[in-house]
Symmetry: D3
Subunit: 324 residues, 6 copies
């Protein structure tokens, strides 16, 4: 079971200039073979399929807990993509030419199938599929896979970092490189504990230390490169048994965070994109219905949700206006 | 972000006679077009892609919160499949003929690629893919989709209930039919609140009321057919604005559960299946390593995890032995 | 544009003993690379994409007209599959074990996704896809492809004939082998007319003359191996310019049928399969609603459709009862 | 069985400036999950799989008859795509650089695999597949699906209308929006008749009335938004029992057309695109062969086919020349 | 470029009792994610994509040379599958029921699409696809991948060994386990040489030493677990720079074979399977044509090819007869 | 079994201006339905699946031997793609914007998944799959398929020749058109020998003789359009029995080459692309390790491999520098 906390693991910038072509590249980090759907689903199903959990508890806890973090990563990548698409479909709905500016974009389905939104696809428009999940049941193999998966994921993140200069993409990859590095270390440590094989010698791979990347620095400064969270109110205590020792690049001590999960930040409430009917029908009409439903249910008059760009008057405003 | 609670939403029976052919049919409820991967991922991505959340808060909360419940459903279906596969691969590892009994099973990859374990596939062995996710951004369309998706899902659940008599499959489908029914109602109510369209008149579809199904009864008795959980420590308060009124079949009042999530039950710790190296290498060897890692980390001597078949001596025992 | 005539091109036997495993093999002739979806869609899209139609009119007419016949073939294969599945899902709906007899069938989706019905898949459960369509625009290449496609299709039909002894499968393949042979000849003749290449020398391929197959005889006796229909009220007159000369196996003269299309036969109205909710909700309830809708619309009291097993009292009866 | 009439359901403009990038977007309406292949194939297979046809005759007739109309839609979308590609591949065949202008187009296979022609793919180049067909056998579910499918299709049509300003794309989407709207209404009415659920309250969805779209007006003026055709010489009489009552947007009375099918218009005979060998080999050579085959078969000297740009001298001329 | 030697790398037994269900499982070793198509294609494309070959020559030579060996593995797996299918389709061609015995087999396409023959699919009938190829260009990543791929491949081989007792399957897996082990070691050594990481500590994985498997023994006795072949007349000399040191399981010294490639054995000439038209048309007719073509070309009267079951009279005889 | 010779079948130009968009089009010739993966794999599996080899020896030898040549073609296409991508990713690794110039390229995975390298995909980014392999076992059908496959392949090659003006693409297609033509003739001759059908009359198709294409001329002058190589040290002697008679376009005599295989040329050693970590980690570091491994193994100090741009000092230099 999961509980959901309506916050992003890290801050992304608000929408600025739209970048649909860049957003199509960022899709690789969502639905690519080495994207976050793959990390999320691999660890999730490995934990579901884990036999002899009590006997191998520290390893089960590790895989199950990292799986939980990865949900936050598909959420973050989606938020980045949606941010980058914001502003690209603000034309008059139902009007010829309203989407003309994205006719030549690399992934038209972000606008035709979606409302200027994330798809469960890679950067070439191929859907993610269950074939990307490896779950053999053999602990050494699964951990070897996970180490390799994080290595490939790190490579892809670096490439997208180099390819897409939109602020949301850079903030995203800066964060994911740091956290992905932690997972690489975690799986290497697990294998070392099980077999003595020192996979940390393969670090970093590709050979770009995160300290060379400006967007990684705020997270490194907060020690995010050194700690695992449990992501559970009371379970997964035994990750501490595996995740310890020195960080292979910096020598600092690895540790378990005291907080259950990162504090996180409220997401931006991304504004309507009328030309793609997102949301439809009329936002104002929906807002009115919502208000009266709240009232009928005895809930507060104003929306109870917390968003980064919460106005003071209970009326949704366009983010872009708000921040400019 | 999510937190993970290491409990199943409902009790499944412990392993008994293995049923690999039945397990291949149950895969439809995991990775089929109308399986739980589809419900989980559709609502998850719709919530990620939701624009104007504040304006449409009750609807956002509804979709986001049901998404969280669906994680528990992929977990349950996996647990059922793994339960049904337990005992099918207990032969001597590395021995010719050890898996002879499953040579003719419908999905050989459960044993070749997996360790007698769930795959992210449907009942015909086709991987789930991201193309099954619908997220248009238009609220009416997305809710219409979700209503239809739950309808198809209910149909598939009924078929699997009829097709597979293994106790785990029956317990699974009994529970999912009840909870899926709640989601059908929730989306119908959302559409009714938005537009006045009375989709509850389509109920139930297929025309089998859950009260006719014995395996649904314990859940109905606990009122599980009437309530939504928030599945969040503090978010998603506004589901109460949408989910209310009479149940379309029974007339009872729909309500929001007081607890954040169902209490749930600890999962069975499914025993090793040596012939498929799950877990490998030797379970005892892993257990020993785990124990010494725990000790080194200052953790309790015995595993801290809670499982349904927790022994008193800290040593994993085969579930089947335990229950027979 | 098309008009639809609610008749099958040839008679299939009524349902008898169900044969779900056989039906999964027959799916190859529907959704396989060389199935009727492929012939239908290849010729259809080649006709849509045909440039310079006036200049190449006889060839356009040939491709466009055979495309129309192929619709009748996907209809026939579907009818055969549905016939073979009839009787396999008659158990009590919503009852555990009602579908137990098909738990081990090769294609469970015929029952889980469908109502004991045809899927758009091949015999291994893989969906037909648009990649199977070849349409280069170069007339010689397209005709070479079509000749090859019919050759592969003939091979598959023979294999299914050998593999599945259910009466519906044998009646189906007997008919399709004869008509597919006509199409092979037609494309060979087209190429011969264009280039002088004598592809008829490759006949028959595989080397089984249809006169050796009992189920082909009724059709050969009616001359169905010698004629093309126009399948159009007034178009496609110029097929006569291409389809003529002697049949490569028998030496008889090829000819254009005087009738626009085969007379055909009304289909059997296949009975309900309650355990798969086909049709759902209650057939009787639907029948009643239908009757009153007819009345309100000023239509005859009894159903106006013609089916092979039309009763005299306007009430649907189970086919199997009727014929036994 | 079908008969084919060599006419388009509505007039499209002749080729003008080519727009390959736009044509790649229009592919979504052909081979996308919500494209016309999906509507055509869903209703076709639902009609093939329909059990208890006599009992549910009005509903069978409705689905079977709309299926027939949808063939005309895949034909129309193809015609639009081919029109938009005309002129993009007129260079000298076999010459380096002849296709240089489309090297960067979004879907290169339209030129490499095809002859400047339609593919059975979506706007991201993914082939249509049989997995998009839903056919459960449960009438309520199938109709709910169809209503939802038409809703999604309408959304996609609006998006393509906004995205692609080429005259052929606008004429296409103007027509399809009107006819798709009729089908949405038809399925909503069917569900209302069966269950009382008033799905027409969801109209229109997305919230753009067709009367706001200039390209829809000629069709609305002819009443095309109010009527269903039977698309059959004598079958499908009972659609009248379902399709009646007021139009949900305009209140006008729905009705069955007196004509069997729309009169339609002859298609443009699209000119050769030599750089892609469409048609190949030499058009003139083919025309000569065709003429002598006609003569040998006792057919008229000139092509008998009727095309929009029929010349008076029996010689194919380039459409673009003819219309400029 | 390659040269082809018409010999198998190791001896497989001649056909005996057919085992189509077993053959469908063996397909995993051909077209599965961890099958030999994957090893062959991964190393082949990594060698094609290798930049800076001179600088990294020993590593390039290693990957390029192992790629060449893997061709022999897809050949061997195919030979095993075809051997297992021999005898399953010997009925009278074109006769109803001739293939009845394989109607229920797991992979009907082996007989419908193929002539009792290998498909490029996995054990669930899913085609191998190019997505299984990893080629990042980063040497450490590619080698890590290859090590992991061989680990997964070893696991799958063990599973198939356990699952399928047909002599051809056992001979196949016995050989492949030994050779796959060599490749695992080779990639581990390459990584160790590059980084110092001691991946050999993960050995063996799964934890079944090949010395426990009887079918591995003849190969181990010949030292096949210790040596790499260059598989090239003059290239790939530098594999010696990487592949050396002690074997991680036995401590014996790794070495480069003196012979360029294993001597190999001529394949069995598998007999006709008439019911699937393999080969068609009549074998005797083909043999006669072949003989006269040979004569006309001044070649020897008898076939020049060498096969394991070469008769003395130039006439193909059924293998099964020959060996029984 | 194969032996590998580290040479390309023909000379390609060294890298010049990068052309990633062109390279994405050339992918069609690698992983498209009619690309070289298809020719390679079709003939390879047909040879593996060939029954009654002795009886049909000349035909077996033909298919098996052409299969070997096709390996050289996937190698050549890859070399061309990699050449075209060289220079596109030379920026500073790990730096934002280093890959900005390829953000809008048609196939981003060439840079994200790969190191500026070939993928096993077609020009729309769809992976090649095993479904493209046809291997029926019926000799006439397989040869008909192969003839058709070569026809489609020739068409695709011509289209790519027209579309992509990069020198590497033109050199590639010039060569492949000549060799593909030889294969078309070979399969036509095989069919003629078996059946008398004169498929050579379909030549050339599309109707562009290779003598009109400048890039074909050097190869025609060397007689490459007339000869088959055996591609085997001692096998496949009997291709001479099938491949003889006059060339259908020029009337010159077809012949078997005296050399086993074309002499070929050493490949260019393509330079590092640092921004995509190909190769990683540091090229210089790898070179050093390689040198000391060579030394330890008693190999020559300098790399033993032969490349087109071999420097005299044992140090890899950038090709582009070398040739400018």
């Amino acid at each position: 079971m999961i509980l959901r906390i309506d916050r992003l693991q890290t801050q992304l910038p608000p929408p600025s200039d739209p970048d649909p072509v860049g957003a199509s590249a960022v899709q690789e980090l969502l639905g690519g073979k080495f994207g976050e759907m793959s990390t999320f689903m691999n660890y999730t199903y490995q934990s579901f399929n884990f036999r002899n959990r009590q006997g191998a508890r520290p390893f089960y806890d590790l895989v199950a807990s990292i799986a939980a973090e990865e949900f936050g990563h598909i959420e973050l990548v989606s938020a980045a993509i949606n941010t980058m698409l914001t502003g690209a479909a603000e034309g008059e709905p139902g009007t010829a030419g309203a989407l003309d500016s994205v006719k030549g974009t690399r992934n038209t389905q972000q606008f035709i199938a979606g409302g200027a939104a994330t798809l469960v696809q890679d950067s070439n428009g191929k859907p993610w599929n269950g074939d990307y999940v490896f779950s053999s049941g053999d602990l050494i193999e699964d951990l070897t896979h996970n180490f390799f998966l994080e290595t490939g994921a790190r490579n892809n993140k670096l490439k997208v970092y180099e390819m897409v200069e939109h602020p949301a993409a850079r903030a995203l990859t800066g964060y994911l490189l740091v956290r992905g590095g932690v997972h690489q270390v975690a799986y290497a440590r697990a294998l070392e504990n099980l077999t003595g094989a020192n996979l940390t010698k393969l670090f970093p791979s590709p050979r770009i230390p995160t300290e060379k990347i400006p967007e990684c620095q705020p997270h490194i400064e907060r020690g995010e490169h050194l700690k695992l969270y449990r992501f559970s109110p009371s379970d997964f205590q035994e990750i501490a048994a595996v995740f310890n020792g020195p960080h292979p690049e910096t020598g600092e001590e690895l540790r378990i965070a005291e907080e259950i999960q990162p504090e996180g930040v409220p997401p931006f409430d991304l504004p309507s994109q009328p030309a793609v009917f997102a949301p439809g029908p009329e936002p104002e009409e929906i807002a009115e219905i919502a208000a009266s439903l709240r009232q009928a249910a005895g809930l507060p008059k104003n929306p109870t949700g917390v968003v980064a760009n919460n106005g003071g008057n209970g009326v949704m405003k366009k983010v872009k206006d708000a921040v400019t």
